[in-house]
Amino acid sequence: MRFVFKTSYDADIKWFKHGAQLFWYILLLAALIALPLIFVWTGNPYLLGEITAVLIFSVSCLGLMLLTGQTGLASLGHAAFMAMGCYANILLLQAGLPWLIAFPLSGLLAGFFGTMIAFPVLRLHGVYLALATLAMSIITGDVIDLTERWTGGVGGMSVPDIDIFGFVINKYANPYAFYYLCLVVVVLCVAAYRNLLRSPSGRSFAAIRDSEVSAQAMGVNLTRTKATSFFLSCTAAGLAGALFGHSATFVTNETFDIVMSITLFLSIVIGGLGFIHGAFLGAIISGLIPVLIANGRTLLSTSMGININIPGLESALFAGIVIAFVLFEPMGLYGRWLKIRTYFELFPFYRKDMFRRQKSYLKTERVQ
């Protein structure tokens, strides 16, 4: 077990608690930077595309994590905000704006419109927000259809290439550059998230999640704080949507569907609500499951001649994993990792109920 002796207030403010932690994260970043080399060597960047997709998805997961894991508000419609970001980005690029302006602006627009629509609901109990965002996600496709003039509707729309001071990035022409671009966005988002966590905003989000009444009694304005969190969350989703557009290169009214919204939501649950790591683990799992199933299927049919093709198996498997987590490991994958780590750190003094939460019979929000 490691003891950190704190000698200044900055010891608690710093991003990394101790040198070893800093070392591991630098190593991780170095590995991520070096990763494309493997694909340059093999000459087949297909898998790099999948990894890039996971990076994009994790930006969106980070956004939703801020809202659901940190502020305790569930959004079942984050794909709708991704769609807003994606289409805003395309339209701004078509209008002739340089990518470096269009991209952040598309995130902000998604944040702005998302918050505008959700604002009235933010005053209500969390269930209403879940419902309202679900409704938004359901009508996204139809709204895109109705606004065919700008969005291309069912016919779809191709996404312009990224152009940074004359350096053109296209997912197919230059997958490595696109990967690095996504990596930069991810790192910036994580930095922003970490900064929020160590400042009053992040703490007021957590306060609202754990007890609205006492958050108020400490001077936290509920509606404004929830709206801030929602705005930031939608902005991240919008940025992810814009990147997703570049990665898909062609988007239609069916790109950002309700399944995507739900998958996002379930991913962060599997990853571990309330942890940055959880957002990434969730994104990895949800990106991995289809690949695993496809591989398993090929393996079965080539080695044993069994052809399994059950529709809906993917989502059912995913759902099954979620149920197992909710029942047996509500803290998600990252929570499980924390427990394992604590076990070894404290060995042999780990107690089984160390992480047990106090149970209350009904956490009611109603007047009795």
Binding site: T68, G72, A74, L76, I117, P120, V121, R123, L124, H125, G126, V127, Y128, A130, L131, A132, L134, A135, M136, I138, I139, D142, V143, D145, L146, E212, V213, I262, F265, L266, V269, L273, I310, P311, G312, L313, S315, A316, F318, A319, G320, V322, I323, V326, L327, P330, R357, Q358, K359, S360, Y361, L362, K363, T364, E365, R366, V367, Q368
Partner: protein
């Protein structure tokens, strides 16, 4: 005439939405759990009935099959609460939302594997029969849906106001702790509410299937029912029905009277109404404002 025809078929749809919403509100009122799988319960109820009555499966009498389906769904509802949710007491509402969403996916998968992923129609004795009255052509199924909904609502009303169990359920939903002190087995009552809600879902499912075909993704209809429940004000039983009827009516009418090229409005309308209601009357039409006590 055209208008009345639309209204009646809209009402019939609305009744189905209303019944799903009713099952949803029942559970919400009693346990504060939000069951996002209610639509899938409805779908399973329809498939169970189909499994009993359709000739390619068991081929039992239609009316008997309904009763059996209700029984099966009641048991399923009870077991779901007893086996899973009871172990989650004390966890946040969000985790129950997550759980029920996931259960919905699983149910859809199960139904698809057991029955079919393709739409199947329920064999009813009144399929394709019509009643002509004063220039109107009304499907027997539509009339039946409205009649059954009215009867079921009346039955539920009597159940909650007259029977001991119904009163106990009300008590448990208003104040768990007080009900517990008064000797009401709150946990068992909650499971029974799930059972009751399962029965209502079965009825809704059969009624829905009697209008056409059913397939595993029919459960997504539940989302419209949530909209109905929210429009009615989450904790209100009559509100759920009224919300269902509003949505049922708005769909065909907006499709019929939308300007050219905007037929897609009909698909948006229910959710647009939901968002509008939430903006202007956040607690729903039958709102009961509630705040936590400290």
């Amino acid at each position: 005439m055209d208008f009345i025809q639309l209204v009646i078929s809209g009402l019939a749809n609305g009744c189905v939405y209303g019944l799903i919403a009713l099952g949803f509100v029942l559970i919400y009122k009693a346990t504060e759990a939000v069951n996002f799988a209610q639509g899938d319960f409805m779908m399973i109820g329809a498939f169970v009935c189909l499994g009993f009555t359709n000739s390619e499966f068991l081929g039992l009498n239609f009316w008997l099959s309904i009763v059996l389906a209700m029984g099966v769904m009641a048991v399923l509802g009870y077991l779901f609460d007893w086996g899973i949710l009871r172990h989650m007491s004390g966890q946040s509402q969000t985790s129950i939302v997550i759980l029920t969403i996931a259960v919905g996916f699983v149910l859809r998968f199960v139904a698809g594997s057991v029955w079919s992923h393709e739409p199947v129609s329920l064999e009813t004795p009144f399929a394709g029969e019509y009643v002509r009255a004063g220039g109107l052509v009304l499907g027997v199924n539509e009339i039946l849906i409205i009649v059954v909904t009215v009867l079921l609502t009346l039955g539920l009303y009597l159940f909650f106001s007259r029977t001991k169990l119904g009163v106990a359920m009300q008590a448990a939903s208003q104040n768990q702790l007080a009900a517990y002190y008064m000797g009401i087995p709150v946990k068992r009552i909650q499971s029974m509410v799930w059972a009751l809600s399962g029965m209502v879902a079965a009825v809704a499912g059969v009624l829905f299937a009697s209008k056409g075909a059913i397939d595993p993704s029919s459960g997504l209809l539940g989302i419209k029912a949530f909209a109905a429940a929210a429009i009615g004000g989450f904790g209100s039983l009559p509100g759920a029905l009224v919300g269902g009827l509003i949505i049922g009516l708005i769909e065909p009418l907006s499709a019929r009277y939308a300007p050219d090229g905007f037929a897609g409005i009909a698909r948006i309308a229910p959710y647009a109404i939901l968002i509008i209601v939430l903006i202007f009357r956040p607690g729903g039409l039958f709102s009961q404002t509630q705040k936590k006590k400290v």
